[in-house]
Symmetry: C2
Subunit: 66 residues, 2 copies
């Protein structure tokens, strides 16, 4: 489980866009978005840089925290 700091999420559409972006690189990924906190928890076998890139391609700044 890795937590990402994600900037730019403002609404429920953003939550779905980030979730879909992660699940495009790993369909099995479990994704939990905390919109208010700007945090996304991802449970995935993909390395953090791939997750960060997927979120970035959806238009948000993502940085793995742990």
């Amino acid at each position: 489980m890795t937590t990402y700091d994600v900037k730019g999420m403002t609404c429920g559409h953003c939550v779905r866009a980030v979730t879909a972006a992660v699940q495009q690189v790993d369909a099995q990924a479990r994704v939990e978005v905390d919109l208010a906190a700007g945090k996304v928890q991802v449970d995935s076998t993909m390395p953090a840089p791939a997750i960060e890139r997927a979120i970035a391609e959806a238009g948000y700044e993502a940085k793995a925290l742990s």
Copy 2:
């Protein structure tokens, strides 16, 4: 052309959601969204209450101004 005050739009996804909501009730409608101002201009033959209802069903508060 009617201008609507629309509350709750925060990002480009919201702009697309509002535009799609209006075009679902009138596929020919021309829709221009000013996200920063919270204003939506709609050129449509549909009456304002129908447009307001469509936007409301997409999750935003809409009120015709003129």
